[in-house]
Symmetry: C2
Subunit: 318 residues, 2 copies
């Protein structure tokens, strides 16, 4: 993934060149803070990759790539408020480091900044760029709303869960790719196929994330197993287990011995077939993603990079 690494570096350089040292500092300092907390910059790298896949000028994809990264960080700032999260990437979230109002208003400013970046494309493609960007932004809001709704529901249907993760996390990958394809003047069908590659790989990634949270190697995955289990989170594993082995409900709720709860729930995930089902569903989405990628065509070298990237997302140990 040498190319992808180059794209990431290009994004880092571009981010470093942005001037957030603006007034009022109370508004822009938090923007600079969250954007420099790190993150893998994979979404904007996808925009550059998609542009080069169709032999477009990578430098023209830089601003829409920035839009994707700034939009992503906007959604993190507001989601962290809604989820009452104190930490993000090991550091205080914006509303914890400053306060609620700062989190809301700096987030708003970032959403506007994202639109400023995305509008810096050739006028000829601006209408299509705006269409996919706004539709995606709205869908991400819808996904966050469904995610919050699901917390208060006794049960969630599998298809509703898959639709939620499509909206909340996957369409932005699709959008990142499509923006690059638009900059490169790819044919509409190719741009749409690449969009579907992103959406499917995003869903596969999220399911894999659910699986790793329970079954990943804690050392490689970088966090303790079972965070989702201890929160009774309605992941694909839990949704399937609740259907096939309703007795799992007895294990839910606050546990006297958290480690014991995690082990017991994992056992049900295995015995009920939930783990197998999640792995199979993940693999199905992954396979479809690769099919879309191949259908999209383009430069074989970059296509190979994107395949390696898809594999990395799924197999990743961290």
């Amino acid at each position: 993934m040498k190319k992808i690494k180059n794209y990431v570096q290009l994004i880092e350089n571009t981010l470093a060149r942005q001037d957030w040292d603006r007034e009022p500092a109370q508004l822009y300092e938090p923007v600079s803070y969250i954007l420099h907390l790190g993150g893998k910059r994979l979404r904007p790298a996808l925009t550059l990759a998609a542009c080069e896949l169709f032999n477009g000028p990578v430098e023209e994809a830089l601003m829409p790539a920035m839009a994707v990264e700034v939009f992503h960080n906007f959604s993190l700032v507001h989601d962290d408020i809604m989820d009452a999260a104190p930490l993000r990437r090991g550091q205080p979230t914006v509303h914890h480091k400053w306060d609620l109002n700062t989190g809301i208003l700096s987030g708003d400013a970032m959403l506007v900044k994202a639109y400023q970046y995305v509008a810096m494309v050739e006028p000829a493609i601006l209408p299509s760029v705006m269409r996919v960007f706004s539709q995606t932004a709205l869908e991400v809001c819808e996904g966050q709303q469904y995610d919050m709704n699901f917390e208060n529901l006794p049960e969630v249907a599998e298809e509703d869960y898959l639709e939620m993760i499509r909206l909340k996390t996957s369409v932005l990958l699709g959008c990142a790719l499509k923006l690059g394809a638009l900059v490169a003047n790819a044919r509409p069908q190719q741009a749409d196929d690449l969009y579907q590659f992103g959406v499917h790989i995003g869903i596969a990634f999220q399911i894999q994330d659910d699986i790793l949270d329970a079954f990943g190697d804690p050392e490689k995955f970088g966090k303790q197993n079972g965070g989702d289990i201890l929160q009774d989170k309605k992941t694909l594993l839990m949704i399937h287990a609740l259907q096939k082995a309703p007795e799992i409900e007895e294990l839910l709720g606050t546990a006297a011995d958290p480690q014991k709860k995690v082990e017991a729930v994992k056992k049900v995930f295995e015995n009920s077939g939930a783990l197998h089902h999640a792995r199979k569903t993940m693999q199905d989405y992954f396979d479809q993603a690769i099919q879309y990628l191949e259908k999209a065509g383009g430069n074989p070298e970059i296509q190979g990079e994107l395949k390696a990237f898809a594999n990395y997302l799924i197999i990743r140990d961290n």
Copy 2:
């Protein structure tokens, strides 16, 4: 202002045709709620007026006009959270009727919807439309930040106050007008003059609002005098009085007899020259606004309507 009234009606009809009956309902119901709480629809009416001023097709200005109205309501929803306001137009604010998360996320969705509306213009003008809309949106965020900052400052310079109200409330009037001018393919200088008309009339309006809050006829103004005074709000009156009659500080803070405090502070506003200064400043901005309007040119009938509208904004008794 027969034409302006027609424009307002056109906006109401267009608003009524929008379908907010979408899923997830938790996200879109609050959008529909705030948009139907009323409001005078003056900002979107300005977009239509500006379009017709330059003989543009009013129906093509409807979507950017909607963008202005939806953006304005987005800012109300988020500002009401930041200001911890329980009521808006006599009804519960979104975060009070629902909750904080609903206020944040529905607000975000409205900002995106505003961009969807504003992007529905002819591709040829989309880049300029995006430029003025995003710049305005960012400035409105900056204005809200300055307003919050000022609450925690012992004193505020007059020019900083004027810049704050320019950003927080006036640039959106300028933007509303400029969008209409862009739709009508007005010359850039005309569009900019009309923008300045909006900004100056907005500042005059805000100063007049400060004056009416203290000295307006309660029956005509529709609310009790002295709300700003009881909150020790740093209006133009207070800023000037603090400079010219520093002894006013003794009157600040919680009052045993609120009515007595209001009367005492008003007396200082009058005797220190603060009231005279505010009236003069307001008039100066008003006069400059009219000069910009005349410089912009265009259809004399609509120019007359906009002049009547400017007078209405300043003289309004409600």
